[in-house]
C-alpha cells in the first residue's frame, strides 16, 4: 500500500467529498483517476512549449541574434504556431517505404516518453501514481524508445535514415547501463524504488541532505547519460545534420515529424525533472518547510500551510528542472559533437566502470556509515 505521511492529499479529499454525496468508493476512485493524468499531460505539453521557446531564445542569445519575436510578446507563442503549422502539413509516406512501420515508429517513440511521467512527483501526494517500482518503470520504458527509432529508420528505406536509426539504437543501449547503475546507487541509499521515497530521503536537512553531495559521481554519470538518451548535442549523432541529413527523421513530414519533435522535448523535460528528483531534492525547498513553518509559528498540518507548501514544492521541482534544461541548452552551444567511436568509448570504457565503482563505493559507505547513507 502507498503510505501517506502528511502533505496535501488531493485524492483523499476528492474521494471523501464524492463519497459524502453518496457515491460508492469505487466510483469516486474512477472519477478521480483521469484528473491527474490529464493535468500532467497538459503540464508536459506546456513544459515542452516553454522548453522550445527557451531553446530558441537562449540559442539566439548565445549567437547574438534576437530569435523569435513576432508571435506574441517576445515570441512566446512561436512554438504553438510551429505546432499548429505542422498539423496542417501534408503527410508524405515515401513510395518505397513500409507504410505501417513508418507510422508506428514515431508513435512508439512518443508513448513510453509520456507514460514515464506517471512516476514524476511534484509533491508528497502530487503524482499520478506512486507505484512500487517507481524509477524502475522509467528505466524499463526508456528501453522501448530505441525500438521505435530503429523501426522508423528501417521503414523509411532511406540510407541516411537507416544509419541514423542504427546509431540511435547503439547509443541508447550503450548509455542505458551506466544510467541504470547511477540510479541503482541512489536507490540503495533510499532503500526504495519509489520516487516519493527517494525525495523524502533527501529532505531531512534541506539543501545539505540532497543526494548531489553524497552522489556527485552518480550525478555526473546520470546527467551525461540523460543527455545521450535524449540525443542532445554533444551526443546528437543519430540526427547529425551535417552527415546524415536528419538521421531517422529524414523522410518524416507533418504530424509524424511533430511527434518525434514532441517526444524528444518531452524526454528532455522528463530527464531534467528526474535529475532534480534523484539528486536535487525533488520538491524540497533549500530550507526544510517544517523549519520555516515552525519558525513562523504555524503547524505543518494546517490547511493553508499545506497548500502553500505544496505550491512551493511544485515551483521548486519545475525551477530545478528548468535550471537543468538551461544547462543543457548552453551545453548544446558550447561543446562540439563527439564521434561515434568516442561516444561508444565514453559509454563502455569510462562511464560503465566508473558506474560500477560508484555503486560499490556507495554500498561500502552505507555499511560503514549507515546514518549518512540512508540506514
Amino acid at each position: 500500500m502507498v503510505t501517506t505521511t502528511g502533505g496535501l492529499d488531493l485524492q483523499a479529499s476528492f474521494e471523501t467529498t464524492l463519497e459524502g454525496i453518496g457515491l460508492s468508493p469505487g466510483m469516486a476512485h474512477l472519477l478521480w483517476l483521469p484528473l491527474p493524468m490529464v493535468l500532467v499531460l497538459v503540464a508536459a505539453v506546456v513544459g515542452v512549449l516553454v522548453n522550445v521557446w527557451l531553446e530558441r531564445k537562449i540559442s539566439a542569445a548565445v549567437q547574438q541574434r534576437i530569435g523569435p519575436e513576432y508571435a506574441g510578446a517576445l515570441g512566446i507563442l512561436q512554438p504553438m504556431a510551429d505546432g499548429l503549422k505542422l498539423v496542417f502539413k501534408e503527410d508524405i509516406i515515401p513510395a518505397r517505404a513500409d507504410g505501417l512501420l513508418f507510422t508506428l515508429g514515431p508513435v512508439l517513440v512518443l508513448i513510453p516518453v509520456i507514460l514515464s511521467w506517471l512516476v514524476v512527483p511534484f509533491g508528497q501526494n502530487l503524482l499520478i501514481s506512486n507505484v512500487g517500482i517507481g524509477i524502475f518503470l522509467w528505466i524499463a520504458l526508456s528501453s522501448i524508445q530505441p525500438i521505435g527509432l530503429l523501426m522508423s529508420g528501417y521503414a523509411s528505406n532511406n540510407k541516411y535514415s537507416l544509419l541514423g536509426g542504427l546509431r540511435a539504437a547503439a547509443q541508447s543501449i550503450s548509455y542505458e547501463i551506466p544510467l541504470a547503475l547511477a540510479v541503482l546507487a541512489v536507490v540503495m541509499m533510499s532503500n526504495s524504488l519509489s520516487t516519493v521515497d527517494i525525495v523524502n530521503q533527501q529532505n531531512g536537512a534541506g539543501i545539505f541532505s540532497w543526494n548531489i553531495w553524497r552522489q556527485p559521481v552518480g550525478f555526473v554519470i546520470f546527467w551525461i547519460c540523460a543527455l545521450a538518451e535524449c540525443e542532445r548535442l554533444p551526443f546528437d549523432l543519430p540526427e547529425a545534420e551535417e552527415e546524415l541529413v536528419a538521421g531517422y527523421q529524414t523522410e518524416y513530414a507533418g504530424m509524424k515529424f511533430a511527434l518525434f519533435y514532441l517526444g524528444s522535448y518531452i524526454n528532455l523535460v522528463l530527464s531534467a525533472l528526474l535529475v532534480s528528483v534523484l539528486y536535487l531534492g525533488g520538491w524540497g525547498f533549500p530550507l526544510p518547510i517544517e523549519w520555516l513553518a515552525g519558525w513562523l509559528g504555524q503547524s505543518v498540518d494546517a490547511a493553508p500551510v499545506q497548500v502553500i507548501a505544496a505550491s512551493v514544492g511544485i515551483v521548486m521541482t519545475v525551477l530545478k528542472a528548468y535550471l537543468l534544461v538551461f544547462l543543457a541548452i548552453l551545453l548544446r552551444w558550447s561543446v562540439p559533437r563527439v564521434r561515434i567511436d568516442q561516444l561508444l568509448n565514453l559509454g563502455w570504457k569510462f562511464l560503465l566502470p566508473i558506474g560500477l565503482v560508484n555503486l560499490l563505493v556507495t554500498a561500502g559507505l552505507k555499511l560503514a556509515f549507515p546514518g549518512a547513507f540512508g540506514g
Binding site: 483517476l33 499531460l41 503527410d91 509516406i93 507505484v131 532511406n158 541503482l184 540503495m188 567511436d341 560499490l360
Partner: protein, 120 residues
Amino acid sequence: MFALSGYDAFLGFLLISAAVPILALVANKLLSPKSRAGERQLTYESGMEPIGGAWIQFNIRYYMFALVFVIFDVETVFLYPWAVAFHRLGLLAFIEALIFITILVVALAYAWRKGALEWS
C-alpha cells in the same frame, strides 16, 4: 480491483498517452491537403534519384555492443533487488555482490581485450 496498488492508474495513463499520437495523426489526416503522387514520394538522397534501396545486407558494427549490452543489462536488473534490500542484508550481501560484479568485470575486461568494444 487490481492486486498491486497504483497500477490501475498505469493502465489508464497508458490509454491516455496512446490517445495522444493517435488523435494527433487523425487530426493531421483530416486537416492536411491530400497527397499528389509523383516526385515528392521519392526517397530523399541529397537531390539525386536514389540509387538502390536501403534494405540491403551490410556489416552492422553495433551487434557486438548489443551482445555486451544484454549481459550488463541483465546484471543491472539482478542488482536492483539487492540494492533495495541492502540495508537489511549487511556485510555478507556486500561480499556476494562484490563477487558477482567482479565476475562481470572480468567479462568486460575480456570483451575489451578481445576488441569487442573497438569501433574499427
